[in-house]
């Protein structure tokens, strides 16, 4: 293709025409598919055929409302599109009949509506005003759930590759300057200024340079990059191509974890189609710029998300971090200058080039510009993906977007930054979400996972969970991380088993300090953070476990005791049957008792008692 401009208008026109036809769009991101999206798709196709409807059936990626999956959008010409949640094969025909045949939306199943200039339906929240989206921005996620991720036409019709087109007409340094101006910082967690990194690679001397995209998202509870790759693969590629042009690289590698098969499939497809159209490959759009992209599937090591371990892994070596300096910008892949950014960072680039660095910098705070995608998980009502402007408070995210704590329980903590991050308590809820504030609170931005915990969560247990993770995922190269995380974990296990001693807290802090200051890579240096933040904010819970042999959250089974309240027990014998070890005894119609020496603290008796006579303490 010589000039994208020539065909862009016809692609846009066709897209507009399609948007103005009756249509059904099924959300088929990994979350949608897991919730049964493919079966819903089959049911819709069957129903449309049965009724002989003139309707386009298409699919899209995850719009972010994972809590409402399977999600289906329905639209009629000149009308707002309605996005329904909880659509299953058995309610598909009702929806189609009502919305598409009788032209009446089913309001009780509707999550939101997207008006796109058309009149809104009564009784359905408009997307921008809905509780879930009101505080969000849709920039890097703007195509997610709105376009077909396997269609390059959808991408182009929604402004895709316009950034690359513009970049190819700019001076290379100008592009780097624009990224600097945007204030964009690395979205993988470290928060290093992207423009500065690009300048390093631009300035680095070398006959060959590489672009590497880190798509090895591994934090528990994080799926931002997967969502972007599955929903907008071309944007990531376009960002890489712009970076390649700017810094003088002709080759890009996407290091994507093999556990993301859908993302890899859609990326491969995107690469293939872009090459066919002359957007990727030799002499791109007649500019003389060559760029190739290939995918390297990771084999499942968390540490390969660390940039130097990732480079080793691409080179076929064991995924272990290298000493920095030299930084990848100077000696990266195959010892050549390498620009290494994460998925979300690259996906932001086309928007920044198209709209200008100033536009991007108008969002966010003084030192953290733009928007950030977060994954909301844990004990909240609305689990999902949310893009928010930097500087929004944790409270707004947890209580407005995520809809507060589920089952009417109390908020206890929010974990940010994955295994490298920390747990922030209620008194930190008004902390603005930006790189520096989160670090001052003891946590970190990380890649964007937010795990919300309620009153039933034991914070020692949480620290134990994360240390178990980092211990298993430590690459084993450096002593503090390999040996130190193991000892931290063992102490936490002991405390949870009621075998903690008062000195344990000192030992935890002493080990944590050495690991933090002397480990080789960021994975090791940040591994103690879950212990340090829980000690900082929830020290009383540690003390209760150690000194009183009590778990305040009632979670550590070794510390629980079960007893029967005599006044409440009617002697029905149900608990006796429920007990797997015969620890409960008693005559019929007289109060039963639990033999603590036999009780294995499984808790099986508690829900069986209809009279709430069994108490756990």
């Amino acid at each position: 293709m010589g000039n994208l401009k020539e065909i862009r208008s016809s692609i846009e026109e066709q897209y507009k025409k399609r948007m103005d036809r009756p249509r059904i769009v099924v959300g088929l991101g990994t979350c949608g598919i897991a919730a049964g999206g493919n079966k819903v798709m089959d049911a819709i196709n069957a129903e449309v055929e049965k009724l002989g409807l003139d309707v386009d059936v298409d699919f899209t990626s995850c719009i972010g409302m994972c809590y409402a999956e399977p999600v289906v959008e329905m639209g009629l010409p000149g009308q707002a599109s309605v996005i329904y949640g909880g659509v299953y094969p058995d309610n598909v025909s009702k929806l189609i009949e009502s919305h598409l045949v009788n032209k009446t939306p089913v309001t009780d199943m509707a999550e939101i509506q997207v008006t796109g200039g058309a009149a809104a339906y009564e009784g359905i929240p408009v997307m921008e005003k809905s509780p879930y989206y009101e505080k969000q921005v849709r920039s890097v996620t703007s195509r997610l759930g709105r376009t077909n991720p396997e269609s390059i036409e959808d991408y182009i019709a929604t402004g895709g590759y316009a950034g690359l087109e513009k970049a190819l007409s700019m001076e290379r340094q100008e592009i780097v300057d624009e990224v600097k101006k945007s204030g964009l910082r690395g979205r993988g967690g470290g928060g290093f200024p992207t423009g500065t990194k690009w300048q390093f690679v631009y300035d680095a001397v070398g006959d060959k340079k590489y672009i590497v995209c880190n798509a090895d998202e591994g934090d528990p509870g994080a799926f931002m990059d997967r969502s972007v790759l599955e929903g907008d693969p071309h944007a990531v590629m376009e960002g890489m191509m712009i970076a390649g042009y700017a810094i003088g690289a002709d080759e890009g590698v996407i290091y994507c974890r093999a556990e993301y098969p859908l993302a890899i499939r859609r990326l491969n497809l995107a690469i293939e189609v872009a090459e066919e159209m002359g957007i990727l490959g030799e002499n791109i759009m007649g500019s003389g710029f060559n760029f190739r992209i290939r995918i390297k599937a990771g084999a499942g090591a968390f540490v390969c998300g660390e940039e130097t371990a990732l480079l080793n892994s691409i080179e076929g070596k064991r995924g272990m971090p290298r000493v920095r300096p030299p930084f990848p910008a100077h000696k990266g892949l195959w010892q050549k200058p390498t620009c290494l950014n994460n998925v979300e960072t690259f996906a932001n680039i086309p928007f920044i080039v198209r709209n200008g660095g100033d536009w991007y910098a108008s969002m966010g705070t003084e030192k953290s510009k733009g928007s950030k995608v977060f994954c909301l998980t844990g004990k909240i009502n609305n689990t999902g993906l949310a893009e928010v402007p930097m500087g929004i408070t944790l409270r707004e995210v947890v209580f407005n977007i995520a809809g507060g704590i589920s089952d009417g329980k109390q908020f206890k903590a929010v974990q940010s930054g994955g295994p490298s991050g920390g747990c922030l308590p209620a008194e930190q809820l008004d902390l603005p979400i930006d790189y520096d504030s989160l670090i001052s609170g003891g946590a970190m931005m990380g890649s964007g996972g937010l795990v919300v915990m309620d009153e039933t969560t034991c914070m020692v247990d949480v620290a134990k969970f994360f240390l178990n993770f980092t211990q298993l995922e430590s690459c084993g190269k450096c002593t503090p991380c390999r040996e130190g995380t193991k000892r931290l974990l063992e102490i936490l296990e002991r405390i949870c088993e009621g075998k903690g001693v008062p000195e344990d807290i000192d030992t935890l802090e002493r080990l944590a300090k050495t690991i933090k200051t002397s480990a080789l890579c960021a994975l090791g240096q940040t591994a103690p953070n879950p212990v340090l933040t829980t000690l900082r904010y929830f020290r009383d819970e540690y003390e209760a476990h150690i000194n009183d042999k009590r778990c305040p959250a009632g979670l550590c089974s070794a510390l629980l005791t079960y007893s029967i309240v005599e006044d409440k027990c009617v002697g029905c014998g149900v608990c006796i049957k429920a007990c797997p070890v015969g620890a409960i005894a008693g005559e019929k119609k007289s109060a039963h008792t639990i033999d603590a020496s036999k009780c294995v603290k499984c808790g099986a008796c508690v829900p069986k008692c209809k009279f709430d006579a069994i108490v756990q303490a």
Partner: protein
């Protein structure tokens, strides 16, 4: 050659540009412990025992990797440094048998030396210890992975020699260990018994089978001998106890000095009053062979007859 000037422990030091902090400090007479640092494969940075404090740096710095820079202010034994080193040693000892009483390496062991220097006693941290089977399957090399501190010097030196690369790090986290392919025993692997690995091991994980239980390290006198089998001229130490030659051990391999079994065996025969029995791998097994066969002299001996 351009130079850089820095301050180490309050002393002005000037070194050529590109000098590592470790070399700058030791050159100025300061002590820095190292386990994983190997001049032949530098910049590994794994053991972290060589960390020093550099003013303005966020964390402690591995001096075996960091380059000396103009104006740097370095402390090699500050309280933070000492605390980190002690903790690292404590962590190593917590996962080590600490059986110095009977260890062949006692007296020539860095772990022992540094524990003494930093006054780190028997493990204060309890918990799980690695528990691997002792591998004495190879007739020349004993491998006790329970004593390994995972400095990976053996891995790197093995990979440097052409056609070797027999051992590598395997597994992750606490389970990380040095292993031949498929975590087999050394005898089952493609190991050629060159002993490069033994020569670089800073602890008692890799030792010579022929010397096991025979000598204490402080009882022997060493004499450097050079192998004349090929042009590489590898160096070995001839060990004498009470004036009697008891064995020949490899010195660290240098550039272009690969070390090989034949070289060591030849020197054994030449110098040792009671040389070991030569064994060669035939098929899957090591079998006893004549000296002529071990040294590849069969044909020659035949002609001399």
């Amino acid at each position: 050659m351009s130079t850089v000037a820095l301050t180490i422990n309050g002393q002005e030091v000037t070194v050529p540009k590109g000098t590592r902090l470790l070399d700058a400090a030791t050159g100025a007479g300061f002590f820095i412990p190292t386990f994983c640092h190997d001049e032949n494969s530098p910049n590994y940075g794994g053991c972290r025992i060589c960390v020093v404090e550099v003013k303005g740096a966020r964390n402690l710095v591995a001096s075996c990797c960091a380059e000396a820079m103009n104006g740097m202010v370095v402390e090699t034994e500050s309280p933070a440094v000492v605390e980190a080193r002690k903790t690292i040693l404590e962590l190593m000892l917590a996962n080590h048998p600490v059986d110095c009483l009977t260890c062949d390496k006692a007296g020539d062991c860095r772990l022992q030396d540094y524990a003494f220097r930093y006054d780190v006693k028997a493990p204060a941290l309890g918990g799980e210890r690695k528990d691997y089977e002792f591998d004495d399957s190879n007739p020349y090399i004993n491998r006790d992975m329970n004593k390994c501190i995972l400095c990976a010097k053996c891995v790197r030196t093995c990979q440097e020699a052409e056609d070797r690369g027999v051992i590598s790090l395997a597994y992750r986290g606490f389970r990380t260990k040095v292993a031949p392919a498929l975590d087999a025993s050394l005898a089952e692997s493609a190991c050629v018994s060159c002993s490069r690995c033994v020569s670089v091991c800073p602890v008692g994980a890799l030792t010579y089978k022929s010397l096991s239980g025979k000598t204490r390290t402080w009882e022997v006198e060493k004499e450097e001998v050079t192998c004349t089998w090929c042009e590489a001229g590898c160096q070995f130490d001839l060990l004498r106890k009470n004036g009697k030659a008891v064995g020949v051990v490899a010195k660290s391999p240098g550039n272009g000095r690969p070390l090989c079994l034949k070289g060591r065996l030849g020197l054994e025969l030449k110098y040792n009053d009671e040389p070991m029995t030569p064994m060669l791998k035939k098929g899957d097994e090591y079998v006893e062979v004549s000296w002529a066969e071990a040294l590849g002299l069969d044909e020659l001996v035949e002609k001399l007859k």
